[in-house]
């Protein structure tokens, strides 16, 4: 079984590798256009929250767990093991992160959160790699089991200690945070440095202030875990695409039989992939507890494991794509949290973007896609013009609808690992 229509020909693989270099440039180009358009919309609608450094900072914080889950998904699925157990592994991460943080301090929370997630990954690896259990089935079972384990452990560990069956005591220990001096007003050896970008942002100049705010949002009160997560994006790319072990791991997802015939220990690389996957999902859980909430609460993950899965698909099973998708989803969440006015203003952004996309399609002679895109853009504009607010629930479903649309419209341009989701047995014939 495979997630989607898989292609095996060398031609497709070659095209994909050429497409990758395009991908990074294309992502950067699109981000650039998005910022310019956002600035324009901010200017027209006078909704400062669209591009304020606060919004960007919140977006970054909300994107981190999604990005970690997406990266986790990449590690697992690149070695050919579909992982819908990410949600459960993240739940384990939240529980162990909170327990560790509460008992021994924040850094132990991080370590134990990672360990808890990796333990979930280990179960997934044993079931799917050694026993050949269907990967979806195992993932579902892990999600159910993890929720049960977290509930049970909470009752045992937190009841009577300031928590209960559904929540932990407050985790007071905190991880260090960084505010960049001079540019964003951080302290330098006890000296309160100026806040240059903050000054720029408050000027509300078109584009200049917006770009300044974007950079400032990434520099104020930055969690060390956020920094680590952002560094994991290039690190993941380097590890999987530029090291020998990374190549072997990917061969487990592209063609495990060929890899085995060349002497790759396929079971081992799959184990590595799934364990890293669980560890990253666990880190995402620990982040939720230690940085976002300061407490463990049941249901805290709120489907972020699944959103991470969506971001992974959206990002075409690549770290840079996952970063872009997680950023997009985080930004939508942040707007929703910060300002109803900004959410409404974003409709104008979407309308213009859709019309622009439609014109591009028409230019490329894709008549149907172009016409539909322009029509959708026009509809969105009407929606913007005749209403004052957007229901909160619509923002909640945005990542999911966006992923479904991308899958439905552009699934030909996505390329998953060829043997992702297919059980591989040592010494078996190709299936």
């Amino acid at each position: 079984m495979s997630w989607g229509a898989g292609d095996t020909s060398a031609l497709v693989a070659a095209q994909a590798s050429r497409g990758r270099r395009m991908d990074v440039r294309r992502v950067l180009l699109m981000v650039g256009w998005a910022i310019i358009l956002l600035s324009a919309v901010r200017w027209v609608t006078a909704a400062p929250d669209l591009t304020s450094s606060n919004t960007y900072g919140t977006a970054l914080r909300l994107a981190v767990p999604i990005l970690l889950a997406a990266l986790g998904g990449i590690y697992s699925e690149r070695t050919g093991v579909a992982n819908i157990g990410l949600e459960g592994m993240m739940i384990l991460g939240t529980w162990f992160g909170a327990w560790g943080g509460w008992q021994f301090g924040a850094w132990w929370g991080v370590v134990l959160g990672i360990t808890g997630g990796a333990a979930g990954g280990l179960v997934h690896a044993i079931a799917t790699v050694n026993f050949g259990v269907n990967q979806i089935v195992s993932g579902v079972a892990i999600n159910i089991l993890a929720a049960g384990v977290a509930r049970f452990l909470s009752v045992v560990a937190f009841t009577g200690a300031g928590g209960g069956a559904t929540q932990s005591p407050q985790v007071t220990s905190q991880l260090p945070r960084i505010t960049v001096p001079i540019l964003a007003g951080g302290e330098l050896f006890g000296w309160q440095s100026p806040d240059a970008l903050g000054w720029l942002e408050r000027k509300h100049w078109f584009l200049l202030s917006d770009v300044g705010a974007l950079f400032r949002g990434f520099m104020v009160d930055l969690s060390i875990l956020t920094l680590i997560t952002l560094l994991l994006v290039p690190a993941t790319y380097f590890f999987l695409w530029r090291t020998r072990l990374g190549l072997r791991m990917r061969s487990g997802g592209e063609n495990p039989w060929a890899a085995e015939s060349l002497g790759v220990r396929v079971y081992t690389v799959k184990y590595i992939g799934v364990l890293i996957s669980g560890a990253l999902a666990g880190l995402a859980g620990a982040f939720l507890v230690l940085e976002a909430a300061g407490i463990y609460r049941e249901g805290q993950t709120g489907g972020r494991g699944f959103i991470g899965l969506a971001a992974m698909i959206f990002g075409n099973w690549r770290p840079s794509g996952a970063l872009a998708a997680a950023g997009l989803f985080g930004y939508a969440d942040a707007l929703n949290l910060r300002s109803a006015q900004a959410v409404h203003a974003i409709l104008l952004f979407v309308a213009i973007a859709l019309v622009g996309l439609g014109i591009w399609y028409l230019y490329k002679r894709r008549i149907l896609g172009g016409v539909m895109s322009i029509a959708l853009g026009a509809l969105t504009f009407v929606w913007f013009a005749v209403t004052d607010t957007v229901p909160r629930q619509f923002i909640f479903i945005t990542p999911y609808v966006a992923t479904l649309l991308v899958l439905a419209v552009a699934s030909q341009q996505l390329r998953m690992p060829t043997y992702d989701g297919i059980t591989f047995r040592k010494g078996s014939q190709i299936s």
């Binding site: 195992s138 049970f152 969506a310």
Partner: protein, 369 residues
């Protein structure tokens, strides 16, 4: 040949036995780890669970699980993973409750109407995943996961903006208006103060219907054939796309009925107190029941019974949450044991086939001589 068949049957029995043994073992370890006595915990669960009202309650809890398990099993039978049962049944229950409250009909008609609305909604929501798979090659696991979350958001939006009962005074209850008496099902019987819900009869009918449809009709044969070997089924003239659509719609329609026992028997409106997560529990029940209606029924009853029997643990100061671990272990050990036994069975069959061939050859040689 007969001996082989018996051996294979015994091997299959290993699946539930090993799952139960493992579940007991892990739960015992968990209980010992927190300083409780597992033997006394299991004993009090057994004695509380076998009281008449506990058994009735267990059946009531099992009915929605059974229907959810059937919905998932229909998909599993042709290797379709309908992870979206959760979203399908919640949206279906919302629409059915709202539609049922909007009309007043004679009792049987009213009941049928509400069930139909639920089935159509569930089928339609599952159908989106079906169309995406057939037309665009989107894997159903991905699309149904997305559709689950979309259903949650869409349902919350529709409920709070359009389908909600107008607030009376300072009442803040978010719910659809109540369904009239004609759209309710009275209890089948009251046993030791516990209502046995009438929907249990519907569930029996549904189980038989699914059995007949999947194991005794041409459609069911095609469906199972597509699950076992899609290529062979396609070559023999089964249109895979049509099978995917039909199976998805059928699974979704069944999912649309999951909320009905609670709707008809107790809540009479869509409220935020309605049980959630039944769709995911349904996956568990289908897995444990090996996708057969009888197995699903047994699994649903076991899960329902464990849920009920564990209520006593709180009174004894033992965290009843231990049963969530029990259930998780049952699921995981069933799927692992299933794979192991499947391989053992295949080895047995290969051996039997080899023996049969050898006997045949020996006979031929004897004739030739």
């Amino acid at each position: 040949m007969k001996a082989t068949k018996l051996r294979i049957a015994l091997l299959w029995l290993l699946v539930p036995i090993s799952a139960i043994v493992l579940a007991f073992a892990v739960s015992s370890i968990a209980l010992i780890a927190i300083g409780e006595n597992p033997a006394s915990a299991f004993r009090s669960m057994a004695s509380y669970g076998t009281q008449a009202n506990s058994l009735v309650s267990a059946v009531n809890r099992a009915v929605p699980l059974f229907i959810a398990g059937l919905a998932v099993a229909i998909g599993f039978k042709m290797n379709l993973f309908n992870i979206g049962v959760e979203g399908q049944y919640r949206l279906a229950t919302l629409f059915a409750a709202a539609a049922g409250a909007a009309v007043i009909l004679p009792t049987p008609l009213h009941i049928v109407f509400i069930m139909l609305v639920g089935m159509i909604t569930g089928a339609a929501w599952a159908g989106i995943a079906g169309i995406l798979k057939v037309k665009r090659g989107v894997h159903e696991v991905v699309s149904t996961i997305m559709l689950n979350s979309i259903a949650t958001g869409l349902g919350a939006y529709l409920l709070s903006n359009y389908l909600r009962k107008p607030a009376v005074g300072s009442e803040l209850l978010i719910a659809t208006p109540p369904i009239a008496e004609s759209g309710r099902l009275p209890a089948l019987a009251v046993i030791s103060g516990e209502d046995l819900r009438t929907f249990v009869l519907f569930a029996v009918v549904l189980g038989i219907a699914v059995y007949v449809l999947i194991w005794r009709t041409r459609f069911g044969y095609d469906l199972r054939a597509s699950g076992v070997n899609p290529d062979a089924a396609r070559v023999s003239g089964v249109d895979p796309n049509r099978m995917i659509m039909r199976t998805m719609l059928l699974s979704g329609a069944m999912a649309g009925l999951i909320g009905m026992p609670d709707l008809f028997g107790f809540f009479h409106a869509y409220t935020l107190d309605l049980p959630t997560g039944l769709g995911f529990d349904g996956i568990a029940v289908a897995l444990v029941g090996l996708n057969h209606p009888v197995g699903v029924a047994i699994a649903a009853f076991v899960f329902g019974w464990v849920d009920r029997a564990a209520q006593i643990l709180d009174l004894e100061g033992i965290p009843k949450e231990v049963i969530v671990i029990t259930k998780g272990v049952i699921i995981l050990s069933v799927v692992i044991a299933y794979e192991v036994v499947k391989r053992l069975v295949q080895a047995q069959q290969i051996k039997a086939a080899a023996e049969a061939t050898r006997e045949l050859e020996e006979q031929e040689e004897a004739v030739a001589a």
